[in-house]
């Protein structure tokens, strides 16, 4: 039977030079099917449970699952190791890929490749789920990834990219990994419409990755929110950051970022919505900060960042800072705590708003005093500070606070 198929295939391929379709079955393993495939062929994996250990793909083929076949790594093996170009992996379920402290085993690992498409797959209980390194023009789309997190050391990342460019990560659902999406040395890439939740560290974590765009993603209830470090020219637009709670949890943690845009995002119920450290020349506009502990924590090491047309609504503290040096601009935002007036009716308050309250300075120094928040004595102290500022940085002010909330 096997022979016949091989002969048949051989004959078929001799007859014409068009692409072929090879279907796996009880007699044809995935490895065999791939071995007999040529560049441009399609391998169809039929429904069933396959335990074939590590499968290496180095040809330009499409591997397509029919009726959701399951590939099991038996907690020992990396399942797919892919390198080459023009390869498609579609509609397959992967489960139980192995764990190794030496190698980054993944359900789908792509090395030195280009034009790779990974689509509509389900990955369950993996160490790393999708791991791309030195890859260009990869598309990772509509995958559903669910990990079984134990500790930071024993769990890998959901979608991990290293030294890649022009990748498109779209519409994936990632949960229960160390970092939902991890970028290191990744350039000119787009991450959009992904949903990353319940990861034990960051929803998305990227470092040394320039010229990337993040659109319309949702990051919900991750251990430490989202971290963006040592990058420049990053665009973050229309994302939602929700319920990242904890002593070191941030909606976004920005560290050493420059020349970037953060606009149209929604920050809801985070301990710290936006934390800036050593960042410069960032435009932060048209965002909604709602019901966060601190809407913005900006360290004195930041310069030339512009906050415009943001809505600050029902945050416990609007802005926190750690020094008196202010090199950033906070003009023209809406602050729901603003108590000024608008005599000339131009929609802008006539008295500047100081978003740093004294108590946010105090609780920065001594966090356990947070428990007295909203008490009579604290509001008295805040009022006294407003009248005669001594602790809060006087220059950190919105000179044109909007009277009405912006329609965002």
């Amino acid at each position: 039977m096997k022979r016949r198929i091989t002969i048949l295939l051989f004959l078929l391929s001799a007859l014409n030079c068009y692409a072929h379709t090879i279907t796996t079955g009880p007699a044809v393993s995935i490895k065999k099917a791939i071995a007999s495939a040529k560049d441009g062929d399609t391998v169809i994996i039929t429904k069933g449970l396959y335990k074939e250990g590590n499968i290496v793909i180095q040809k330009s083929i499409a591997i397509i699952g029919q009726n959701n076949p399951v590939l099991d790594g038996e907690n020992k093996y990396e399942i797919f190791t892919v390198s080459g170009k023009n390869i498609t992996i579609k509609g397959i379920s992967f489960q139980n890929s192995g764990y190794s402290a030496m190698n980054d085993y993944a359900s789908i690992k792509v090395i030195d490749a280009s034009n790779i498409t990974i689509e509509n797959n389900t990955i369950y209980n993996a160490y790393f789920a999708i791991h791309l390194s030195n890859t260009s023009y990869a598309v990772v789309r509509n995958n559903s990834i669910k990990g079984n997190p134990k500790s930071e050391q024993l769990t890998g990342n959901g979608i991990h990219l290293w030294k890649s460019n022009h990748a498109l990560i779209e519409n994936n659902h990632i949960q229960g990994h160390r970092d939902g999406i991890y970028f290191e040395f990744v350039t000119f890439s787009t991450v959009k419409k992904n949903f990353s939740e319940l990861n034990i560290r960051y929803g998305i974590h990227f470092m040394f990755s320039n010229d990337d765009t993040y659109l319309n993603n949702t990051f919900l209830n991750n251990g430490a929110g989202v971290a963006v470090m040592y990058s420049k020219k990053v665009i973050m637009q229309g994302n939602r950051f929700e319920q990242n709670w904890g002593p070191s949890a941030y909606g976004i943690l920005l560290k050493d970022i420059s020349d970037s845009y953060i606009s149209g995002n929604t920050f809801f119920k985070n301990t710290v919505a936006l934390h800036l450290e050593g960042t410069s020349r960032i435009e932060i506009n048209k965002n909604i900060f709602k019901e966060n502990g601190w809407a913005v924590k900006i360290q004195a090491s930041c310069n030339d960042n512009n906050f415009h047309e943001n809505n600050f609504i029902q945050n416990s503290f609007d802005v926190g800072t750690n020094g008196s040096l202010v090199l950033n601009n906070f003009d023209n935002n809406y602050w729901d705590k603003y108590e000024g007036y608008d005599m000339n009716k131009d929609g802008k308050g006539d008295v500047p708003y100081h978003p740093v309250s004294m108590y946010s300075m105090i609780s920065e120094q001594n966090p356990s005093t947070l428990i007295l928040l909203r008490s009579f004595i604290v509001s008295l102290l805040d009022k006294a500070e407003k009248a005669i500022p001594s602790l809060t940085p006087e220059n950190l002010a919105d000179t044109k606070p909007s009277i009405k909330a912006f329609k965002l």
Binding site: P247, G293, S316, P367, V378
Partner: protein
């Protein structure tokens, strides 16, 4: 006793002060909810009323009422009734009227404009604080010799719980900032019903900020069933102990 409570309630209604208090709460809360764009900000103002105005009114009103009905109490004492019953009936009458005033004045607007978790928690806290401060007022005024002293002491009580106590905590937190103080502050908050109520509301309102540091501890504590039971227990103690003291003083008092 029920009959006596009913007479006291009639008497309080006739004096119209409680009605004025109800109207004040109603107008203030309605205008706050109508004025502010988001109901959260109105709730914040309401929180200030609950933590500052409500205890003050409960204390002062109960004290004044006690001294004003002094002759009525004397008359009742000439009847075959135990002293305990009389003072408890007085307490019940005053508390019920103040609770009703709060429920109508603040409850209706909250239920209309913001029937959320935070709103309901605030109402419950307000009810508990009304009962606590009325009972504190009774303990103080039964003990005090005359009206002037009574009102003076009651104002001092208010000043202590609303302002001085938190100032002391702030002082402690700063002087011992090198030590872990989470458990200590938790214990200290039990000694002031206003703090207890405030933390309770904050766990709904500022949960994101509180989760930042010691907050996780508070959330774990107040969120657990055991913690809730303990808080309810402590609140009840804050109601019962002053009333019990009032009864004790009243029994022995030479009227």
């Amino acid at each position: 006793m029920l009959k006596l409570t009913r007479y006291i309630l009639y008497d309080i209604l006739r004096s119209k002060i409680v009605i004025a208090y109800t109207l004040f709460l109603l107008i203030v809360s309605f205008s706050m909810f109508r004025m502010e764009e988001n109901s959260g900000k109105a709730l914040l103002s309401l929180l200030n009323i609950i933590l500052i105005v409500l205890p003050l009114i409960s204390l002062v009103f109960s004290t004044i009422h006690y001294y004003n009905s002094y002759e009525f109490i004397e008359l009742m004492l000439s009847q075959p009734m135990s002293r305990t019953r009389i003072i408890i009936a007085e307490y019940a009458g005053v508390t019920i009227s103040l609770l009703a005033a709060f429920l109508i004045g603040a409850g209706i607007p909250v239920l209309i404009f913001s029937p959320t978790d935070t709103g309901i928690t605030m109402l419950l806290t307000g009810l508990a604080l009304t009962m606590i401060f009325t009972s504190l007022a009774f303990a103080v005024s039964v003990k005090a010799r005359d009206k002037a002293r009574g009102i003076g002491s009651v104002l001092l009580v208010w000043f202590y719980f609303a302002l001085i106590y938190d100032g002391l905590i702030l002082l402690i937190l700063f002087s011992f900032s090198d030590y872990p103080l989470e458990k200590v502050t938790l214990a200290l908050s039990f000694l002031n019903p206003l703090d207890l109520g405030r933390i309770f509301i904050m766990l709904k309102m500022d949960v994101s900020a509180l989760m930042g540091y010691t907050g996780a501890l508070y959330k774990d504590f107040f969120g657990s069933t055991a913690g809730m039971a303990l808080v309810t227990g402590v609140m009840l103690l804050w109601i019962i102990i002053p009333v019990w003291l009032a009864v004790r003083y009243f029994k022995k008092k030479d009227l």
